[in-house]
Amino acid sequence: MKLVSVVAGGLLALGFATGLASQADPQVFFMVRSERRPAPVYKPDQVIVGFATTSSQALAERAAREIGAVQMRRSLFGGRYLVTLVDGQDVPAALARLRAMPEVEYAEPNGIVRAYLSPNDEFYRYQWHMRLIGAERTWDIQRGDPSVVVAVLDTGIAYEDYGPFRKAPDWGGTPFVTGFNVFSGSNHANDDNFHGTHVASTIAEAANNSIGATGLCFGCALMPVKVLDADGEGTYFDVAEGLDYAIDFTQNGQKTVKVINLSLGGDGTSTTVTRAIDRAVAQGITVVAAAGNDGEDSVSFPASYASVIAVGAVDGRKQRAPYSNYGSALDVVAPGGDLDRNDDNDQYPDGVLQQTFSPTRARLEGRYDVFGYFFVEGTSEATPHVAAIAALLYHQGIKDPTAIRKAIESTAEDLGGSGRDDQFGYGLVRPAEALKGLGINK
């Protein structure tokens, strides 16, 4: 299933920015929610191949030649290869041949992952989603620290002035560590879509600087990792590359990435990705992912993987958002919004409000500097709230991903049926409660 942004035409278009939105007169953008349309679940001409550790490069190349590969790309981080097949070659047939080779450890389709999105815009008083989870009390306790880095694997972030890309206006002093672009192999993970900037802003958009909106962990540092392209699409190979980069990243000899945000997902599962996630968790990194926007009783991958905190979305009434996937793999819910509702009566639909740039101007004109504050709905928008909480908990003293998960789950506000249920998981996250921890009896 594919998500597509559709501009609201004359429906809700209050105003469209023509340049950088001024601080005094922020531009408001309305975007209608994404629609779904059938799409392939994996790249029709690619497979991922993992070779046994004893296999040489020559053996790998020979295996690729035997199945008629036209191109083979070795991972920058390990012994897996992205093999591009000749036009018209059947992926299942290629996989069958590869799996029969003794030097091949595993072979799988290169599944497609997509951003879970749908946009809109403006300011803290419109950030109902922060109030819903008690953000102000949270900030009394903990605001995060630059020593804790949250890696955002997404479409990139508007975090630097580089070529046609511009740094978004409301980052304030939010530090960014060296990023990675899996498509170019460079360290310039600039956002050419809008989604990653919006997601990252929920985590660490600057606060108390009198402009724009705020992130939940505005003291944290961010790592931009571009694994989704300008259309918000990527593959499991790309995601694994991004995961490995974040896992291996060091600053002054220290591994500083403590949380990975995956506001993306796809169909099926991927050994390539689960192995990378296992490695992340083993190194003390908490991985958080979006449940998906199909409104189905099935949590998307990688959120469905047991080591990942799967996040669904609720609206301002603490009701499950109609698009939010649910099911046995769902762990918690966070505000993801519903653009059909205005439960806080602020004249705006209840999307998650953060800074980003106009996706329309980016797509049509190649401009990445038309910034504004956008209301967006989706489990993509719910997920960074939880990633931010994980980062806050880490800095408060909970250093283990399993314990962080338990702290988030055990302090969630129980919604729906008593105890954990498939609609809300353990319930709506309550960061202040999680940060308070436990006394003897309270």
């Binding site: 009394d140 003293g397 909970i398 338990k406 308070k436 921890g437 309270k442």
Partner: protein, 213 residues
């Protein structure tokens, strides 16, 4: 062997070894006491307070009847400071979160006891009783203080050895107490499945008495 088992064995031994008291006029006594208290909710206390041991002090008033039977009423305070933590499961690591916590127990105890005959300057005694224990927990998180206090019924058994013949005497005493269902509904005590804030206490006492043995 657990402290309460040691205490029970000591009580049985005292019953066999001690001789009955000589007839006496009886009288009042007051005491000041201090010592060490080891709480039964060991894991919870160690996680939050850093130790399951508390310093304790207090005082009491007793009356000894002519045939060695005595009644005693006493109150003590045991408190310790720590910090709030997070524990995912009973076997899991304890993560300290830095928010201060203070935990205080105030047992008020009534004891019915028996004083054996004197061995030289030493007088052994035993007692059992019940009372009420006040349990108070207070923690401050980012400027907001939360308090929780409650009182729970308690039971105890004790054995002691008093030294001296005159008005001023000294004693050492071992006590086992139980205060069930005092904790365990939240916090780390729920995770560890601990609900009893009783425990084992070793006390030293300074006694001023009007009794004549």
């Amino acid at each position: 062997m657990r402290p309460r088992h040691l205490l029970a064995a000591a009580c049985v031994a005292a019953l066999f070894l001690a001789k009955p008291p000589a007839a006496s006029a009886g009288g009042f006594a007051i005491d000041a006491q201090g010592g060490y208290f080891s709480i039964a909710a060991k894991d919870s206390a160690e996680a939050v307070l850093g130790s399951s041991g508390f310093g304790t002090f207090g005082g009491g008033l007793s009356y000894t009847f002519g045939k060695g039977i005595f009644v005693h009423a006493g109150v003590r305070v045991a408190s310790r400071d720590g910090e709030r933590v997070f524990v995912a499961d009973p076997a899991g690591e304890v993560f300290k979160l830095g928010h201060p916590v203070s935990f205080r127990l105030v047992p008020v105890e009534f004891t019915l006891g028996y004083r054996f005959g004197r061995f030289g300057s030493f007088t052994p005694y035993i007692g059992v009783g019940g009372g009420v224990t006040s349990v108070k927990e207070e923690s401050t998180v980012a400027g907001i203080t939360e308090k929780e206090s409650q009182s729970k019924g308690s039971g105890h058994a004790r054995i002691g050895l008093e030294f001296g013949k005159k008005a001023l005497r000294f004693a050492v005493e071992a006590q086992w107490s139980t205060v069930p269902d005092a904790i365990g509904v939240g916090g780390v005590s729920k995770i560890y499945g601990e609900s009893n804030v009783g425990g084992f206490t070793i006390l030293g006492k300074v006694i001023f008495t009007t009794a004549r043995d």
